[in-house]
Symmetry: C2
């Protein structure tokens, strides 16, 4: 029997970090553990102070990430293999990590986060801005306006709009609101890259977050000085002065574990560490997708769609595309729907009557399950409803946070399960529209691989997606595709000579798998959904493309009423 080799993947989420120990030969997850961040999402009070944060702020504590390294890795080594034997650190050939993004922090030149320093610890701008920190909208608006004014081509790579969640708006917010913090920061760096720095002692910048979140591309690099100066003269040299230019590509080795980091983690000094990745993007190879034509959808609170292509195409309304951004050698395209599970959670919390809650309790099932079982008894079209899935705005293809939800067709006979089903269908129509937009622009989508939390929990949803999109839907074998994908990149960082793989394609072939379970479109149902989808598209375009901007005017009226 050949010697077992293991790789470790660590997925840094919004509330916690998850580490998995993976058998490199077949991708089997041997051990897993989760560590919740002590300070979690910091959106009310700065830890250890009375300082209250403004609305839309969301911070994080870099120490929480280090604690994940220190707590989870020793734990999975200790859990050991199926026979219960602890794992020999010699058998761990590589480590990979993935992260939320854009999650960014200011540090000194040696990597010390400003918020670790007494003089900045009580300053909110000294901390990490989490991906869902939404207070840089004014900066995003001004940046977009200037880019349009200057006719900058890179806007097209991002669906025509840079999000307030991304790198430059967040950094600019620091400069605007706390120039002293901006000045004190030698670096603004993605948390993903900062953790790699702590592990390897080497400052790098991964091409995935740089590309999707910091307007970088292999061909054109970062935005020009001229543009940055036009935004704010003080920003002119931000790229040269405060950002590493050492861009490393997915699949590369960022370095080896330092003695210190190896000590934290109970691993061997010099263990291969992969270039950091984004939690969504790292899922693609773990869902077996390393080539064009197959779309990965990560279905959770929101929907994230990824597809590869050898071609560079401007596809309207995408979140972005990056060369080598998902799998080396391909343009990686990302699209999204800002609300999936969040729709259903909202509905279950706000729109389901007491007798349903009682019935669910009597049957010892969740309200979601009760609604699903009732909705599953219906045929497509039977409830007479159509909805627009915009309760949290529209990410693709309209890229408009000011759009809101619509429900049409209600009668006095409409029941909660009807609305629940209509909301599921609306998200499926939105996904179909994204797929059709890809295809119309030369990026084929022949098949869908789903991953994330929802495919496991809602069979009705999966069948509706198959029927609405007219495409077969497969499910990734692992429910932990992010952490698994990171472990795969760890095995690639080690390389074949060390018992790993030379490419992510090889790693995916050996370590990723699909379930036997798959969802196939049922022609009768698909035919009805074709008609309903046509109605969706008409409403989508009427309310989303400027013919009737009632949703925006209502938001304006609402804002005035709340003053």
């Amino acid at each position: 029997m050949s010697k077992k080799r293991y790789a470790i993947g660590i997925d840094f989420g919004t509330e916690s970090g998850r580490a998995v120990l993976v058998d490199v030969s077949d991708g089997r997850i041997v051990a897993t553990t989760v560590h919740a961040y002590a300070n979690g999402v910091i959106d009310e009070v700065l830890p250890g102070t009375d300082i209250r944060l403004e609305p839309d702020w969301a911070l994080q504590d870099p120490n929480d990430y280090l604690e994940v390294l220190k707590q989870t890795v020793p734990a999975i080594l200790e859990q050991g293999d199926s026979a219960g034997n602890a794992i020999d650190p010699d058998d761990v050939i590589g480590v990979g990590i993935d992260f939320t993004a854009c999650t960014v922090l200011p540090t000194k030149a040696d990597g010390t986060p400003l918020c670790f320093m007494p003089e900045w610890r009580e300053h909110p701008h000294g901390w990490i801005k989490l991906w869902k920190h939404h207070a840089a909208q004014p900066e995003a608006n001004a940046l977009n306006e200037k880019a349009r004014e200057m006719g900058l081509g890179w806007l097209d790579r991002y669906g025509g709009k840079i999000s307030s969640e991304w790198f430059f708006p967040k950094v600019w917010q620091v400069l605007n609101e706390a120039p002293e913090v901006y000045d004190a920061a030698d670096r603004f760096i993605e948390a993903a890259d900062w953790v790699i720095w702590q592990m390897t002692g080497r400052e790098t910048r991964n091409n995935c977050t740089a590309g999707y979140k910091a307007i970088w591309s292999k061909r054109d690099g970062f935005p020009s000085r001229e543009f940055l100066k036009a935004l704010d003269p003080r920003l002119e040299n931000v790229v040269d002065e405060k950002m590493s230019h050492d861009i490393q590509f997915l699949g590369e080795r960022a370095g080896g574990l330092t003695a210190t980091a190896a000590g934290w983690m109970g691993l061997k000094e010099g263990t291969a560490v992969a270039v950091a990745n984004v939690d969504a993007h790292v899922s693609a190879p773990a869902a077996t997708v390393t080539d064009p034509g197959r779309m990965v959808i990560i279905m959770g609170t929101s929907n994230c769609h990824m597809v590869l292509s050898e071609e560079e195409r401007i596809v309207p309304g995408m979140c972005g595309y990056v060369e080598d951004g998902i799998i080396p050698g391909y343009f990686g395209y990302e699209a999204g729907q800002s609300c999936l599970g969040d729709h259903f959670a909202w509905f279950v919390e706000n729109g389901v009557p007491a007798d349903y809650a009682q019935a669910a309790a009597d049957q010892h099932i969740s309200l979601h399950e009760l609604l699903e079982s009732k909705a599953a008894r219906q045929k497509p079209g039977e409830h007479g409803l159509v909805a627009l899935d915009w309760w949290n705005g529209n990410r693709s293809v309209l890229v408009d946070v000011d759009l809101t939800g619509l429900l049409l067709g209600a009668t006095l006979a409409t029941k909660a399960e009807d609305i629940y089903r209509a909301l599921i269908e609306a998200t499926a129509y939105g996904t179909r529209l994204i797929i059709e937009t890809f295809e119309e622009n030369g990026i084929p989508v022949n098949e869908i691989v789903a991953t994330g939390g929802l495919p496991d929990r809602n069979k009705l949803l999966m069948q509706i997606y198959a029927d609405v999109t007219g495409r077969e839907i497969k499910i990734a074998a692992s429910a932990q595709t992010s952490a698994l994908g990171s472990a795969m990149f760890g095995a690639v960082a080690a390389g074949k000579a060390e018992g790993g793989y030379d490419t992510i394609e090889q790693a995916s072939l050996a370590m990723a798998d699909l379930r036997d379970e798959r969802y196939v479109p049922i022609p009768d149902q698909a035919a009805v959904y074709d008609k309903l989808y046509a109605e969706y598209v008409t409403l989508h375009d009427y309310f989303g493309r400027g013919e009737n901007d009632v949703m925006k005017r209502l938001k304006q009226i609402r804002a005035e009423a709340r003053q």
Copy 2:
């Protein structure tokens, strides 16, 4: 002290009959009692048989009406005056009744209902078709098509459409489905007129139901033989052969109580009996409205709007107008919204979460009250929603039962009270649109008088109606305007010489009143509602006037799915 005079009003509703004993001098209701119909609404099984009814059928038993006469009138006489003294039948000068409409039955020439006869008792078509019997839709469709084809002007009097609830579709349904019942019937008569026949021994037909429900007008009479023959050759002579031509006008005396009827009711033979009326229309003078410029709205499960004018105008999308149809000397215009309280009842039953139900229970209030109190804390526009109030179709001004409900503007922060308030507002926008349609066509509406069940129960709703319509809203003093109005017509049937009044205007002046409570538009709120109403109108026209018939297509898809 002058001798007290009393009039009795009897309101025949959908589930029960209500009698009031009223002081003729000032309209004070001295005694009141309600008698529930033993057979209620017959919509499942024919009484005393196993015969199941088709969907959309709704029948009634004429004996239930006679029982109302026999039970309620002796009871209110017995209840007596404020001192507790029973009322002397000599002091009761007149009786009036009002009824649901069109509620129609087949009888023999002597007034015997077919369903009282053993040979027809087991035949559903032998019974009374209640107003909400909806199974004559095919006949209504064919009738409308033929009338349009023949270019018949009277269609304009009814908003361009005859309802399946009305007289000719119902009678034609009998002919189509049970020609033997049609042949056996010597008369098809409104239940209102049939009860008057039983009370007075005289067959009459009141101009109100004839005008609003049987396509009759003072100038042109009933539809022509030519038209009826074109519908169905067997219908050619239905007016001559099966309907009384003795049209009597509101405010007239139908006759005096027969000895038999006087015996049933404990009244004096010969007591004046007024011409029958419709429950909505009879409310107008009881709400003090006997002249143009003031709209009465009866706010219950649905909204019924009535306004008077000296002018004959074609107002698009009204339910109908009838000369002398509400108050002699005026054209009486009726409009309606098919859903008012029904919207809120639907929402409370189907869309309010369990924790609200618990909070209402804890506070010992109804869910309606809880939602009202939460919604009342908001400013107009604060919830960001707009709805179309079409959960039960649109009666005015679109006259389209196939329209359905719409809710727009939802976000993940939308709460149940937001939707509740948006539904209230939507009905107010619908009323404003009706008012504006009246005014654009030369029928002014300067003020609103509200009556019915809702004004008492929901102050928020009343303020919203004032703010949205920009008109002061007053409330009828009595919550029983139908029964009170009938008593007023009873006093007019008796006449001044008998201690009553010579005209309904005089009766209204003496016997009807408004509350001190009134709702005045608040300028700031009205200004916001002007903006929101503009959004409502845009959506109303887009979905209601043919630009996007998605609601109808969804109904079609739904019907196919249910096959």
